[in-house]
């Protein structure tokens, strides 16, 4: 393994790979990505891989719009032929309460003002988009036709191949065990395959980012919570959009090969990094989905699994250089939407690392906001 690097990126998930790709594209040489398992083994390969621009805060709308536009042109931008299976069947978001109806009206206005073509729908109109939805269970809905979902494995491959072809070295099965310091100066990283000296280190370790920050002795106010998913047997195409509900507590999509993939949140989920599955999830998820979509009750569940949401107090990410350790960068705390933000994560982090201005101002997503009482308005449009 190489002994030196200009930038060492910790984490071979979609965020780390996107940062590597963007840095390499901007001309930075000698970049390494260090992944303790195989690429995408963390939250990237375990997530729902939904892409949506329908958010409740301006910043999230802008970040996700950037990402969505990137994915629309991914093949050209990556210069490879890997099909990331971006299916833009839209996102249909159902309101379950009167408060949500009002919130959704405000969201659509905000989104439209930012150039996002979302619409506010009656339950009947939502039923036309998704005929197997029991519309008596929703009070209203919003829809954006450019939202959708993609294949996280293909996307990981597309990013990693693009990064490799630009000269990035990717080391899988290479675990970072320590951050090397010289006094209070950053020196590099220690892995189970040897040390790498690097003046710049990026913490993109997702669910494990707090462990990495601890190694560097810097504060990163995040925690990881288990989230579970299940998948059904495949059937003929019957649902174009990703359906989502916040108070309804569900996201569900039918992937191109016909399976339904769905997840929900649960405050009682453990926060100790375990990745086990529970039968309680299986039951609650089945109940939620068959209440809203009775026809799915005929499907068999074929598998369930879990991944980690890396959470912050305002459910928005941290894009920052650690104030205590110059050269050590955080791209963490994605709070369940790190996958869809990957393109913008790569862009803003690469610009920050190179000391250049990014297309979107993300200075408010600093790591100090949690101390200074500068929390951002909490994003309510999350499952």
């Amino acid at each position: 393994m190489q002994k030196t690097a200009d930038v060492a990126i910790i984490g071979g998930g979609i965020s780390g790979l996107s940062i590597a790709f963007n840095l390499a594209q901007a001309g930075v040489k000698n970049i390494v990505v260090l992944e303790k398992n195989f690429l995408g083994n963390g939250a990237t390969g375990r997530c729902g891989a939904g892409i949506r621009m329908q958010w409740g805060t301006e910043l999230n709308c802008l970040l996700s719009k950037y990402s969505c536009e990137f994915f629309e042109q991914a093949q050209e931008l990556f210069h490879n032929n890997i099909d990331i299976e971006f299916e833009q069947g839209g996102y249909l978001i159902g309101a379950g309460t009167d408060e949500e109806v009002e919130q959704f009206k405000r969201n659509v206005k905000l989104q439209n003002d930012l150039g996002i073509e979302s619409v506010f729908l009656s339950p009947e109109e939502a039923g036309e988009i998704m005929p197997h939805l029991d519309i008596t269970k929703i009070k209203a809905a919003t829809f954006c036709h450019r939202d959708g979902h993609l294949n996280p494995f293909r996307t990981t491959e597309a990013y990693s191949e693009a990064a490799r072809s630009l000269g990035v070295s990717i080391y899988e099965y290479t675990e970072v065990q320590d951050i090397l310091l010289d006094g209070d100066k950053l020196k590099g990283v220690r892995t189970d395959k040897g040390d790498i000296s690097a003046p710049l280190v990026v913490n993109a370790a997702g669910g494990y980012s707090k462990l990495i920050a601890d190694m560097a002795g810097v504060d990163l106010p995040v925690y990881s919570q288990r989230h579970q998913i299940m998948v059904t047997e495949p059937v003929e195409a019957m649902q174009d959009p990703m359906f989502m509900g916040f108070s309804l507590n569900i996201y569900i999509q039918q992937v191109p090969h016909g399976s339904f993939i769905m997840g929900r949140s649960d405050d009682s989920e453990p926060t100790d990094l375990r990745l086990t599955s529970s039968w309680q999830f299986l039951e609650k998820m089945s109940e939620t989905c068959t209440t809203l979509m009775p026809r799915l009750g005929q499907l068999k569940v074929v598998r369930q699994w879990a991944g980690l949401y890396n959470m912050t107090a305002d459910a928005q990410p941290i894009y920052d250089e650690a104030p205590e350790l110059p050269g050590f960068y955080h791209a963490a705390g994605f709070s369940g939407h790190g996958f869809m933000l990957a393109p913008v994560t790569g862009h803003v982090m690469s610009r920050k690392i190179m000391g250049e201005k990014a297309d979107i101002d993300v200075s408010c997503l600093n790591v100090s906001r949690f101390k200074d009482g500068g929390l951002l308005p909490t994003e309510s449009s999350v499952v």
Binding site: R274, T276, S277, S278, W279, L282
Partner: protein, 361 residues
């Protein structure tokens, strides 16, 4: 949620013997099996067993299944067997989920014996997804269970005991066997089986493998070739065989998915067929109260599966507070039987593998 003292997963030789020993001393047992009837792979084994009387030597497998099942009646403990009952989940809180005759069920067992057996290994070659390519177990099921011949002319891949026995059964059913191939230098199965087949005129080609199967939407031809010392094809050694069935008998892997879910300590031991759970001489895994028996604990014969089942049954019963004066002696005798079954020169690999897995050897 149903609370039960002892759950046994799998009603094959190991599971049925475990149930017998546990119920004999008074444990109520629930056995779940995904098949339509009990017996596991015994129900397709029409040949007579070797070994000693205790493991039903000279009795056909299919008859052993009946004997093992019938003796579960009228024991001090009640044995309930549910077929068409697939265990699908082992959760960290000890709950076991199953699809039982179409219904989702949850069980909370105090102890559990996993006796799920094995699955067949497959072989990578061009055309191996064509209709006509079978695992040896599927061929046995078709012929011996359902009375259906898989085709007219078979190429058998693998000269271990399963490959040899299934070839002989094919011949008995009036199916031609074009050849038996094995990539190894020597025939892996018992020579008594191999000799019978050779006498019937079937060539056994060691250092050979199949490279290609082709035909119009189904297997019609196979190209086989010889292998050099580095396992590479020897150019010019290709032969075409006109066959409509390619039967793959290249060994078994422990069906250990449930044990992975239960997070028991596993170890890759090639001699035992792949990843196997570590165990102690009671057949208990690293998870307290979770026992194993049979092929899931390492690929062997039905005879040793039955004895392992007995040990697991006695041990699980003991853990639940049920034993008799003879339990201790019985377990000792079982361990002795296992040692005898694994004593031959041909069992050296098994002995080494079992020692690595923590078993009594």
């Amino acid at each position: 949620m149903i609370s039960i003292p002892l759950l046994i997963v799998g009603a094959g030789p190991a599971g049925l013997c475990a149930a017998y020993r546990a119920a004999e001393v008074g444990v109520d047992v629930l056995i779940l099996d995904r098949a339509q009837k009990p017996g596991g792979q015994l129900v397709k084994q029409t040949h007579k067993f070797f070994g000693s009387e205790k493991q039903f030597a000279s009795t056909r497998g299919i008859e052993i299944a009946d004997i093992l099942f019938k003796r579960l009646e009228d024991l001090p403990g009640r044995v309930e067997l549910l077929t068409d009952a697939t265990v699908i989940g082992f959760y960290e809180d000890g709950v076991v989920t199953a699809e039982v005759q179409g219904k989702f069920m949850k069980y909370r067992p105090e102890a559990c014996i996993v006796a799920t057996g094995a699955s067949e290994k497959t072989l990578a070659f061009t055309g191996n997804d064509l209709p006509g390519v079978y695992g040896a177990g599927a061929v046995q099921t078709l012929m011996n269970e359902y009375g259906v011949r898989p085709g007219n002319r078979v190429l058998m891949i693998g000269a271990g005991n399963i490959g040899l026995i299934v070839s002989y059964q094919l011949l008995q059913a009036g199916v031609q066997v074009a050849a038996i191939l094995d990539a190894a230098d020597e025939i892996g199965g018992y020579l008594v089986h191999a000799s019978k087949i050779r006498r019937a005129g079937v060539p056994i080609l060691t250092r050979h493998t199949v490279g290609l199967a082709y035909g119009d939407e189904k297997v019609e031809h196979a190209i086989i070739h010889a292998l050099d010392d580095e396992w590479n094809k020897i150019p010019g050694s290709e032969q075409q065989l006109d066959v409509d069935v390619i039967c793959v008998a290249v060994g078994l892997s422990p069906l250990a998915d449930l044990l992975w879910q239960a997070a028991v300590d596993m170890k890759y031991i090639g001699a035992l067929g792949g990843y196997v759970p570590l165990r102690n001489s009671d057949m208990m895994t690293s998870v307290a109260g979770l026992y194993i028996a049979g092929d899931v604990a390492g690929i062997e014969e039905a005879s040793s599966a039955m004895v392992e089942g007995e040990i697991a049954g006695i041990s699980a019963a003991g853990r639940l507070g049920f034993s008799s004066e003879e339990s201790h002696l019985l377990k000792k005798d079982c361990l002795q039987q296992l040692r005898q079954l694994r004593a031959g020169p041909g069992s050296e690999k098994i002995r080494t593998g079992m020692a690595l897995a923590g078993a009594y050897v």
